[in-house]
Amino acid sequence: MNAEARAAAAPQRVTYREACKQAIRSAILADERVFLMGEDIARYGGCYAVTKGLAAELGEHRIRDTPLSEAAYVGAGIGAAMSGMRPIVEIMTVNFALLALDQIINNAATIPHMSGGQIAIPLVIRMATGAGRQLAAQHSHSLEGWFAHIPGLKILAPATIEDARHMLQAALDDPNPVLIFEHVMLYNEEGLLDPTVTGVDIKSAKIRRSGRDVTLVAYGGGLGKTLAAAETLHAEGIEAEVIDLRVLRPLDEATVLGSAARTRRVVIVDEGWRSGSLSAEVAARIGEAAFFELDAPIRRACGREVPTPYAAHLEQASLPQSASIAAAARELIKPR
């Protein structure tokens, strides 16, 4: 290997934000049918600065600013996908996606089936999600697990730099509408990107840490806290296995069940409001398929059932934290 090749193969230190940007750039460069459209992505540079500079580099047809018309431009993305393009639609945050839900659920998710398989909708919709920045109730929803209820959609939650870098291309290669949820607290996270990894699958959950005593299931913005909890538990002699769901729909049940069967104890972490969150589905599936393998009831560490408050101490109290995750695991192992 010469110096240049070595440098190219050396892990790159990047932020999650930069990984998202690289993903967009390379997808657009690779296929002329791909373009990104959304609010303030071109001239402003992106609400979370993900697309800063990209319009100058790629042109305003490929990085296309839209008016504040969530229903229309999401619908237009669906139409463009039906008609030969490979659009990436950015909805600034999941909070505004509620304005486009009719298009997503009644059109994107139904038309392939309803047309008897004539029409595919190879569309990707990206959006920021999650709480933690004191943006209060209308700007802090964690609804990715809720979107995972809808058949016809695929739902991704990249929790790592690698997934932020590579899930987009996998989503574009999929002939179905794929929604990618990027957690707002991750954009500034830094990590190493292995240049020899050129792609990821969008099928499987991944074990991010192995352990024999308890399984912690997490995704998206919850993964970091969960790994931190695992570290705490390790110091106490409890070995937690941490699963990153990655794909929220369709769920990779096998990976979760396999781990649950080994550890016999499960905590599910979900920043969404507890009732009806994705954690419930994961719990129900484990209960159905691994009931006799469990030594203890499944626990859930979830968001509290409250519109996210502005004040920092209240906001943090409304979210699962590594301490509460560790506590739930501890209780499973050493019941009081």
């Binding site: 229903a71 008609s83 030969g84 393009m85 659009p87 047309s115």
Partner: protein, 328 residues
Amino acid sequence: MTEKVHLDRAHLLRLLAQMMRVRRFEEKCVELYEAEKIRGFMHLYDGEEAVSVGVIEALEPEDAIVATYREHGQALARGIGMNALMAELYGRKEGCCRGRGGSMHIFDRALRFYGGNAIVGGGLPLAVGIALADKELGRKSATACFFGDGAVDEGSFHESMNLAALWRLPVLFVCENNKYAMGMAIERAESEPHIARKAAAYGMASETVDGMDVVAVAVAARRALADVKERSAPFLLECDTYRFRAHSMFDAQLYRTREEIAAWRKRDPIQQLRSWAGQNGLIHDSDIERIEADIEAEIAAAVAFAEAGTLEPVEELERFVYMEQTPA
């Protein structure tokens, strides 16, 4: 009737035959609905045939169509086979959507017929996107987007009109203003009931045309489409029309009078064209007889086809929820 002088006999016969075909097809559908062969919601186009027939006459094969749940007229005028359409209404595997769509969701990818949409206003953003793709991919196509007066109440109308005008996309917005959205009269739903006037809020060109006059519609549509393609900018064509029958198969029509219906029936687009063209010696009784015979035969064949159709095996229920590939 307007500018009819330029139209030759073959053209007139085509327009008339197409309208009669839609009318008779739907009359048969009513029978079949009553016989419970067709189920679900079914919306008839009776009285409005001139709109879809006139507009679609002006389209080229490379153009695209987005329609509503009241789209039998568009589907037939665009050339979706009556067999596949009838089998769809029967819920058969041989239907154009394998029985999954039914009356409100007719699709034909090869004909660029992108549905059949049962959400009022739900198709407009799709049309914007189809036109965007066509423009970006350098196609010389336009998209005809049909919607009712009721869709104008929806936010999606506003957003889509703006987006199409802003980005100068080749969309022909065709408003089928039949004066009612279910039971809601347009004056009770819109503070400014003149729909064509709303185009000004988007800097868009517009025109109102007599939607009971198929030739007028065809002429206006041709002109509008030429404008759309030449300027690469959208156009709003408001078609003044009326539905003679109930909104759907469940509707007591408490919201309008018999007199009103009777007055509009006098403007029946089929009768108007027949009598005008007859008086002018352009169409003869023998033409009508031939057309009727052809239609009867086509309908009989379609019913036979649908009756002989099969049911999608239940094991296939989840097929197409996720596609395995994007058709080329």
